[in-house]
Structures are given as C-alpha cells and as structure tokens.
Amino acid sequence: MSLISWGMYPIIKNKIFLLRDAVGLAKYIENTDEFIPYGNGRSYGDSALNDNILYTKTYNYFLDFDEQNGILTCQAGVTLGEILEAFVKRGWFLKVTPGTKLITLGGAIASDVHGKNHHTQGCFSECVEEFTIMLASGEIKSCKRGDELFHATCGGMGLTGVILSAKISLKKINSAFINQTTIKTKNLKETFEAFENYKDIPYSVAWIDCLAKNEEIGKCLLMVGDFANDGNLGYKSKKKLSIPFNFPSFALNSLSVKAFNWLYYAKAKDGVSKQRVGIDTFFYPLDAIENWNRIYGSGGFTQYQFILPKEQSFEGLKEILTKISDSGKGSFLAVLKLYGKENENYLSFPLEGYSLALDFKIEAGLFELLNTLDEVVVKYGGRIYLTKDVRVSKETFESGYPQCDKFREFRREHKMDRKFNSLQSKRVKI
C-alpha cells in the first residue's frame, strides 16, 4: 500500500511505518535513510511524500485536559475533528482552524495552518503552548515559543523532526452556531472595500468567481461571522456524502465550473444578507463531501495558493485573475482572504495582505500557466503556500521566504537534513 496526498498527484511508491510509540520511532529514525512524517494526508502536493513515510495518525491519545484554562494535551496524530467532537459540547473550540478539520495536530503545527480568523488571531502556532518533538538523534525535546526549534518547527513542514505531542489552548464558546453575514460584491474594488469594512469581525473569507471577465473581475461572496451567544452547544458531525470514484476527466471542464460558480453566486441574495449556520457549515463546508478531491479525475489536481503584501494586492490580484480568466483553466474553488500580521516562524506562509487559493486539474499546459503566475507573485513580493504546492521552483520559493537560509542552516546544524526530507524539500532544497 502506498500513500498519496490530497491532490492525488504525484503517485509514487512508498514504504510506510506506523508510529505507535517513542521507542519504536527512535529505532525507525536510526535505521531509515530519510523519511517524512505524514498525518491525515490533507496537504495537497508533495510536502508529505517520499520513498519512506512515517504514518502518525496511529499515535492519537488525548493526554490531558485542564478544564479551568482550556489547555488540551494530545499526541500528534489526533485530528482536529476529534478535538471538536470531544469539546464543542463542553463549550470549547479551536482558537485557529483551517478549512478542514480532517488534519492532525502534528500536521497543523508543521504547516502552521491558519483560518478565517487569521487577521485577528494569527496562525495555529499562536495557540500552541508547548510541544515535544523527536529529533534526528532520537532525542525528545520539549519546546516553547521563543526557542529556535519552536519557530523552525511551526511551519517547518515536518523537516525538523517528528512532533510527538502538543499542548494547545482552546477558546471558550457559548454556542455551536455562527451568525454569518454574506456580502455580494460586483468587482475586485468592492471586494477589497468589503474586507476592510468588516475587518473587525473575527472570521472572514470570500469565494471569488475566477472566470469573471473585464469589469466583473474579482466579484465575490464575502462571508463574515462570529459565534452566537445562545448557549446551544449541540454539535454532531454530519453524515458525509461521498464521491465513490474518480470522476472521468471531462466532468470538470470550464463549462461545468462556470455553472457551479454561477449557481453558487446566484444563490446568494444581492447586497448584504444574514444567516445562522452551524460550525461544520461555516468552517468546514467541503468536509461534508468525503473524497471531494476525486471530482478532478484520476490525474489529480493541485491548489495554487499565494499571498501578496497588502499594498501590492490589488494590482497583483487583478493581473493574476486576468491571466487565469484568459487561460480558461477553471477553478472549482477560489478563496480570497485578507490576512493579518506575519509571525516570526521561519517558513510560515501568512503575511499581511491578500491570499488567493485556486484548484486546478493537473493537465498539459497547467504548470506553464502556474509558472507565469509565479512571475507575478515574485514581482509583487508575494509567496507560495508549501502545504498546497507540488511544483514551485527553488527560486520562486526563496524569493518569498526571506528566512529560508536560517531554516536551512538550522537543519544542517542539527543533522535534520539527513533524516527528514520530502519530495518538496528536495525540490526547493531546504
């Protein structure tokens, strides 16, 4: 059995070792040339792929909960979904959550994930009080904010060691429901204005229509919201729909994408409307469809996610959206979001500005298109999100991550570069 990533591309053969205990792991590290830890396989590209893979989801005990302060300690293979299942009904939620709850705690730290509240709460590492990690030597270290190991590991793509457990602080909630406001905009200018107008609301994200042309470029549905205060903590994960097989590749052409985008956009009322929605609907809309990655067919897909500094965002986004629209290569999903301040971690993705994420089916000509998009990203001082990436060049990567040399040096110094590698780390030479 071989493991693949969420994008189902590339498909390579690999040898899997199941993480069960620290003693077994130490032996594995000693006896294995190089490997990469793998959580729940939700990163899109090749950041968790290599010939040898350490499967960590089997390492999933809850270790401690401090009810007074909402501090939870878990082994790294626990998924965010499991945390919600246990704690929402007791009035606790994750301080930071990405758009899927089907990722492991270890993966959340390694990707230093972010969510709809990045502009108010920052990345996942903000809620990490402490974690333990096994290094290349087999030694287990515990580290906290301020330690170099902490800042290299949060966002470090599993390249500094194997995260074993983490202590995270949860957020108190008084409802499992969110009061949501949806704002429908007509173009990019309106979209930016809407983000600014609503930036004090903790959660926000926009779905953008990538196939819009000319003056309609950048039209979107901006959804903002915050937890209700009604004391209703009823939460049960919904039964999932499932895509049972890979769709044939013709299922997703620009026409069907257009139809989907149009339907989604048309469904929303003009101007501003209000809804009350559950946690799963608000935070994890796509988790409701198991294996939604299969709609792109067996050739796989990738997600292109970049971020541009705020001052350059408008020009840059316009340029990129025009290129995408002209290419006719559709995106099922395009997510736009305004981010808050950058943190100190060496390789964390977010910086203050706008990020856009789009899915593309893997097909001839795609990587050429993405290379031209890269040029625009580099020109405007932006960066590419490693967790989504499967093809970025070393040069593009380096131009976006000014601390990458520090990261490389840290890896070399602790001999991490000899043990922990992914296809991606070898491509961009970190």
Binding site: M1, L18, Y61, F62, L63, D64, F65, E82, E85, A86
Partner: protein, 243 residues
C-alpha cells in the same frame, strides 16, 4: 449510563470500538491480558468522553476464570463485544500444533466460554446485546489462512445459533465480518487499499449495526459481495485457485 464490556480490548479495532461507544455515552469495562497497559487508552477515553472506564484483567484462554470474572463486574453490562482474535501465520500453524491450538482457543473456544456465561445471564434478564467480531475468512476455507478461517467459521456458526436462541428473549446478536483492516495484525501484509478499512470505520459500522439490531455486518460492505462470489465458486474450480 450502562456499561459495555469489551473482550480483547488491546486490539486496534477494540480501541476504536471503545471510543465510539464512549462517545455515545456508554461506560466501559475493557478486558484484556496485562490490562494495565491500557491505562493510556482509559485516560484518553475519559478525557474525550467523560465516561467511566474500568480496566479488567482477563485471559480468554483461562476458561475456568470466566465465570468468576463475569460475576465480579460491579454492574451487569448492557452489552458484550468480543473482539479477541489471534491470527497465526498459516505456514507456521501448519507446522506447529501450538500455533494452531492457540488460534482455535483464542478465536473459538475462549470466545464461546465467555459468551455462554453472558448469554445465560442476558437470556434470564431478557436484556442486552452481544457482538462477536468474526471474519470473512470464516466464510470459506482458503489455503492462505484456513486454520484461522476455520476457527472463525466455527465462531460465526456459534453466533448464528446464539442469535436464533436469544431471539425470543429480545437479546440481539451481531456477527461482524471485517474484511481487510489496517491493524497491527495486518501491518506486514500488502493490502489492496480500496478493500481495506481503517479501524475507525469498522468501529463506527459496528456501533451503527448493533444499534439498529442488525444480524450480520460485513465491513467494508463491499465484502458482502466479494464473499458472495467466493462462496459460490464450485469446489472443483475453487480447489485449483489461489485467492
């Protein structure tokens, strides 16, 4: 809330079954050999679900201790789930009698020993449910693992008869036939991904089937179809095949 007794609680499937029942509000007795090694699981479940978890020392092949063990439970369980299993490597079991005997004793004799006691009690009370985790390997003997398979076949037949007997008393009996599952037991086997379930899926399936009072559960469900075909291959052909 009522207690569920899980026999053979150290297996990967049992661990997930325990979590699912706890999540749905059941307290647990987790029975296994060297049960203190389950402290981490007990703690895990208590944090996740806030239910009561008791660890119970239990050896499925020490038949004469079973009566005493069952009587010692402080509260009668509402349900008993037997997950114990031992899969000897087929060629080893062919050569060494002790491997064969152990396979029979864990998968069949021991399971019957404890379930006879439970069944008598549940029948008397006219209340409770029994779940036995058997295997698709019991549906037809194949050269690749017929020793394990024959013990599971015996267990499946037992559960079928037990279901028939307890029907009158309103006690439900569920036979679970997992296909390939990603567990410690199969860690070194090369399993086809599409036919292989995760222990979490199996546990959810067991819980749902038991709550609905179903009789036989194949998990993943595709295995029902696969075994239907395998069972219907004529013997004169089957004996020549390698599947």
């Amino acid at each position: 809330m009522s207690y569920v007794l899980i026999i053979g609680a150290k297996s990967d499937i049992a661990k997930e079954v325990a979590r699912v029942y706890a999540k749905n509000g059941y307290n647990l007795y987790l029975a296994a050999r060297d049960s203190s090694s389950l402290e981490d699981l007990k703690h895990d479940i208590e944090i996740r679900s806030g239910v009561d978890v008791e660890l119970k020392e239990f050896d499925i092949t020490s038949y004469d201790t079973h009566e005493e063990f069952y009587r010692s439970l402080k509260k009668r369980p509402i349900g008993v789930i037997v997950v114990s299993g031992y899969m000897a490597e087929q060629t080893a079991a062919q050569k060494e009698w002790i491997e064969t005997l152990n396979t029979i004793n864990v998968n069949y004799t021991g399971a019957l020993s404890i379930l006879n006691i439970v069944a008598n009690d549940f029948e008397k009370e006219r209340l409770g449910f029994i779940v036995g985790v058997s295997s698709v390997a019991g549906d037809r003997g194949r050269k690749a693992n017929y020793i394990y398979g024959s013990a599971k076949a015996g267990f499946s037949a037992y559960l079928s008869g037990l279901r028939n007997r307890l029907y009158e008393s309103g006690v439900s009996v569920l036979t679970v036939k997992p296909g390939f599952v990603n567990t410690k037991m199969t860690e070194n086997l090369e399993l086809p991904q599409k036919l292989t379930a995760q222990p979490q899926e199996v546990a959810e399936d067991i819980f749902n089937a038991q709550q609905k009072g179903r009789n036989v559960l194949y998990t993943k469900s595709i295995w029902m179809l696969i075994m239907l075909i395998i069972k219907h291959i004529p013997e004169f052909m089957f004996k020549k095949m390698s599947i």
